[in-house]
Every structure is written in C-alpha cells, then in structure tokens.
Amino acid sequence: MGKQLEQISIALGGNPNSGKTTLFNSLTGARQHVGNYPGVTVEKKEGFASQNGTNVHIVDLPGTYSLTAYSQDEVVARDFLTESKNEAVVNIVDASNLERNLYLTVQLLELGVPVCLALNMVDVAESRGITIDDKKLSNLMEIPVIPTIARTGKGKEELLNKAIEMAGDAKPSRNFSISYGDDLDEALNEMETIILKSNFLIGSYPARWVGIKYLEKDELVIEKGDKINKAVSSDLIKIVESVSKHLKNTLNTYPEALISDYRYGYISSILKQGVVKRSHEENRLELSDKIDKVVTNRFLGPLIMAAIIYGLYQFVFTYSEAPVVWFENFFGWLNGLASDNMSDGLLKSLVVSGIIDGVGGVLGFVPLIMFMFFGISILEDSGYLARVAFMLDKVFAAFGLHGNSVMAFIVSGGIAGGCAVPGVMASRTLKSPREKLATLLTVPFMNCGAKLPVMALLVGAFFGKNEALMMLLITVIAWGGALLVAKLLRMTVISGPPTPFVMELPPYRLPTMRGLLTHTWERTWQYIKKAGTVILGISIILWAMMTFPGLPESDLAVFENQRNEVMEAASAEAVQELEAAADNDEAELSEAAAAVQDQLFQIDGREAEKALRHSVAGSIGTALEPVSKAAGFDWRTNIALVGGFAAKEVVVSTLGTAYSMGEVDPEETGSLGEALQKSPGWNPLVALSLILFTIFYAPCFVTVVAIAREAGSWKWAGFSMVFNTALAFGVAATVYQIGSATGFLIG
C-alpha cells in the first residue's frame, strides 16, 4: 500500500454501449460538469466523487472502440490520456462482450497508462450463460479487475478504492507489450532502438507505441514526428516501408492488418485460458436478436419505424405545447407589466420588444429542446436508434448522408411543423464529420412550425382551391431540395469518401430514468448558457434594425395632425366613449365611435408602415428592390424577409406592418391574405416564388447559432446564411422568370 492522497484524477474510458455513462453518473451523482475539449466539438464530462477522505476527479472520455487518428473522439481520448496526468485510467468493459471490449484495453496498456478494469454488466453476462473468472483475467493481464453492475452501483466502492490505491502506489506502470509476429517484432525492436537513442517523442509516449503508430501509418503521430526530428522520422518510415514490402510479398498483408490480428489473437489466447465459461454456444440468438427479427423485418420494420418516428415527433411537439404556452404567458405577462409601468419611448421599446421578447425567444425553445433530447435519448439508450440508421442508411447514403441523419430531418420539420433548432442539435447522434456537416446545412430547408404561418398565408390567399395539394408539394420540395443540396455539398465543399458505416447494433436495453434526465438536462442547460446569450444579443440588434432611425419630427407631426383632425371631426359623444373605453378592452362601441377608432387605427398603421420603411431594415429592403424584382419581391416583401431572420413567422407580422395593417397575428392571417390578393404587386406566381424562397433562404438566427455550435465554427454558420439565401434566390428567380415569360400562374 502506498500513501493515501487527498485529491486524485482518474479518466474513465471504454467502448460505446459498455455502460460507461451509467457508471460515470453512478460515481459522480449530480456533481458533474459538461464542457468541450479545447478547439473541438467533442464533449468533455467531468465530475467528482469522494471516497474515504479522498476527492476523486473523474473525466469521462468519449466512448470509442479504438485509439486511431481517424476520429476526433479517439484523438481527444488518447491526447487526454497522454497529456494530462491521470493517476489511474478506469477502463469499463462489457462482460457479455469481453473479446471486443478488451481490444481497447490492449491499446490503453500499450499507451503505458495505469489501467484498472471495471468488468461491467456481469449480471447481463450471467443471464446469457457467460461467467467470467475476474481473478484469472486479472492475473493473466496483470491489471486489477473489479466486477461491477453500473445500473445498481454494485462494485463502485471497490472500484474507487482500487483507483485510489493505484494512485498511491509509487511504482511506475509496467511496460506492456505483445508480440506482433517475427517480422513486425523485428521492425519494432529496430525502431525502438532508434527512438530511444534519439529521445524521439518519448516525452509523451512509450517508444514501442510510437513504433506501432508508425507501422499503423498514424498520420497525427507521423506529422508530430516530422516536426520534431525529420531525419529520425524518415528513418522510421524507411523501416516501415521495407517491412510493408516484405509482408506484401510473403503474406500478402499489411502491417496494420497484422497488428489487429495479433491484438485479437492475444485477447483470444487469454480468454481461452479459462477466463470465460459459456453454458451456451457463443452466437446463440438472445432476446435482443429475436426482437430484431421483427423490428428490422423487411416489411414490418419500416412500418414500426414510421410509427416510432411519428410517435417521437408527436411527443416532442405535442407534449411541449403546454410548457411553451406557460413560457409565452409568463413573458406576455412580463411584457404587459413593462408596458403598463414604463413611459412610452425608446427604453420601453427596447425592454419590451428587444429584451423581454428576446429572452422569451431564447427560453421559448427550451421545452422543445428538452422533449427532443429526452425522446432521442430513449431511442439512443434503448439501442433502437442504431436500427433506424441500419434501415435507412441505404437511402441517406445515396445523398452523402448517414442513416442517423433522419432524426435531424424529422425534428426540423420533415413532418411539417418541427423546429430546426432542436433538429440541428439532433445531429449530435452523428459521429461521421462530413455526413454530420451536410446534415446540419440542409435540415433548415424543412418546413418548421414557424414557416407554416407564412405558407398558410400564401397558400390560403393564392392557392385556396388546392390547399392540401400545395402543402404536400411544399413538403416534397423541401425534402427533395434538402437531399439534392446535401448531395451537391458532398460533391463540392464537403467532398470526401463516405465515413465508414461499420456500426455495432447493440443489444436492446431498458434506458435508466437517471441517464435520460441527466442527458436531457445537460443538453438543455448548454443551450441556455452557450447559445442563449448570443441569441439575446442578436435579437436586440434585429430589434434595433427594425426600429431605428425612427421617423423624423416632421413626419410624426403629420400623423399627429391627422389624428387630431379625426378627433376634432368626431362627435363629442364618440370621443368621450373612446376615452372611457381606453381602460376597458371589452367595452362595446357605438357605430360612430367604432368608425373613429377605425380611422385612428388606419393612421397608426400608415405611421408604422412609414417608420418601418424608414428603419435600417426598411432601407435594406428598399435598396434590394432592384435585385429582388427578379424574383417578384418588392420592398415590403424584402423587409418581411429580413424580419424573418429573427424567426420565420415574423415574415407574416412584418408584412402586416408593411401593408399598414399593424401587427398581424400569425394565427389570424385572413385579412392580410385579402390585402395581398388585392395588391397589384401580387399574383399566384409571386406567391409561389415567395414560398420557394421561404423554404430555402437563410435559417433563422437561432438556428444559425445552433449550427455554429454543432459544426464547431462560425464559418459554416456564415456559409449556411449566404449559400442558402443565394440558392433560394436562384430557385425563386428562375421560377418567377420562367413563369412570367410563359404567363404561368399569372391570373
């Protein structure tokens, strides 16, 4: 026994589906924190546990099968292991799937870190007739092995004690090495000598590990080596080339293939020495496989999947309705409070329209995000999400996407009425970087709930006879457009071979409530904390754009005069009646008073229209008119589309203002529809052009912020704004020009 330390750091590593997150939650309880590893989008989860007076700092590494340079997760994991000081690395392995889980263990040992095995899910293994002799495994691999059941917390005390004991041991970790056959061993020895002699890279890594990485053609290690000492690096590469050639000629294989073969060979040889006892045949069909026979059945599978995806969609958007309304009511109440208690002016406008609406806008998404993550966590933790990817991959892969992309598309509005903000976040289940980026950039084309009022307005006003057909067509155009653009992006700006699909179909498991809630809360809190502030800032800027510079005094005076004239012309009774009604919204007005009120509203409407046109947004809209004419849009439509950057339903309310109708409620667009029908600048072709533009143009800024967060760079967020708007304009203008030339839809 070494000395007892007050504070130690341990890292938790293991395969996906090994129960790693469950163990982490069980060890740390609520004492955890989620952040990011520097410079990448990979999540870094940290937590604390205390055991017998020792404070244990635990870092949950990303779940990986290997430690290659091919994925961010793996690079992050191995960099963390070599660069940060960890007194112990707890490697959790699935006892019911030991052979493949130990493959990562071998790599951890080769990396020279002090490993302690958590032999997890011993209960599941037993139920499948698998018994593991943990003592024997420990003796053969020369590392501590602690049987655990992460779900119940069994074994976690022993695990922490063992980690603390390892930390206290001053003994340096042993040199672990396995044989890779005569040819490679000889090459490795030769490389090791060179590496040790020239002190090459061994500050951070064991010499043999560097040699193995050179044999595996690990780009990151070779790049690092080239930088530090080009000459030694070239010498090593020469050895690799010569042994590669020899292997090709004699065994027709590659060093990297032999390395995997020998690692698995080493594992098999250990397991065969009485470590694993089975009462059944290894590949016996378990309950999980029987479920799969039905759930991925050629005919039943897609039906069940459609039902489950539709159910998820209903769950997210129906159950979140009530909390969304609570939020709306609360912010409506706050708004009213501010309106009543503040004097008219810019400050009031800033507080009411800028800040309260902005914060309300940020928090309004929270119920959606929570429900979405909760629903997707159920699918993910149960193992069903992998089956969805399995069944749909053929379709999505054809467009350069991944089977898992479907979730992001559906949530974004693949079933009309979703929301791209949780949709973009749903792409987090995608591990393949190029496929994920293509998904992120195309999901905003879906018909989210905020676009629906715009569509309803235009379809209702101009395609009233074929409403259902048009709505279906809009959905089809959105999907078709998204998939084609994804393909286009994958062939150009995000080109590259498809990320290998090679994916485990994990056994079905009942998710734990704690796991689901932790996951949901973490994600939601991250949204509020990280995205929330940016969103609030932008919403204030947009408010300012729609408000400033405001009408000059002379114009204000003109409208004030008009109002006075109306009041003077009105009868004394009507004026009195209106004044009395000012404090009482429910009051019934006489015909005369109502007529006066109507006139006043019209003046207010004209004033708001003029002020909007005079604002920064209005100036942009007007300045763009010569260009936007190509798609049939006048300055009013342009301003509305600028407003739509705040949220797509703002297109409707802004159009209302631009047509002097005051703020139009997106739910009640009948009168605005009539106004558009009568307006000379409008016809069904213009409406169609605007519908197409609305489908494809820049996502609302909340989505843009979400894209920046998921893609890990503002570059792609900026790209989505510029590219989508250009695409939308191209499509809308093409349709409008062809339509104008042929007289199609101009009636």
Binding site: E99, R100, E256, P500
Partner: protein
C-alpha cells in the same frame, strides 16, 4: 461477403483494404480467421448485419466487398 445469404456462416479469409475503412473493420473484430454469420439485411438489402465474436455488427455492402469469406 456480399453474396452470403441470411443465416449463412463462414470464416474470414482476408480484409483487402487499408486506411480508415480497413482500420474500422479490423478494430471491430473482423480479422483473418474470424467466424462470421450473416444475421440479416436491412429492408432495402443494404447494409448487412453480421454476428461476430458474440455481438452484432452492421456494415454497408460496399464495405463488405473488401472482405473475403470462405463459406461453410
């Protein structure tokens, strides 16, 4: 491997690909001499689900093409 039928078993003879795909295939335990059984195929006949080393693994047909199997 693409030609294998559901429930058919065999032994891997070679995996003829290097780079990321080769690495992923081998890391998941599809190495020379490993017995595999085709457990099923997706409704659109691609990808394929395999039983290997006691767990289920799926890969695209285009990826399975690099794996030579001697069927039983």
């Amino acid at each position: 491997m693409r030609q294998m039928k559901t429930n058919q078993s065999g032994t891997i003879v070679s995996v003829n690909v290097t780079g990321e795909l080769g690495r992923r295939i081998r890391d998941m335990g599809l190495t020379q001499g490993t017995p595999v059984t085709v457990q099923g195929r997706a409704p659109l006949r691609d990808p394929v689900a395999l039983r290997v080393r006691g767990f289920t693994l799926s890969l695209r047909n285009s990826e399975a093409d690099y794996i030579d199997v001697e069927v039983e």
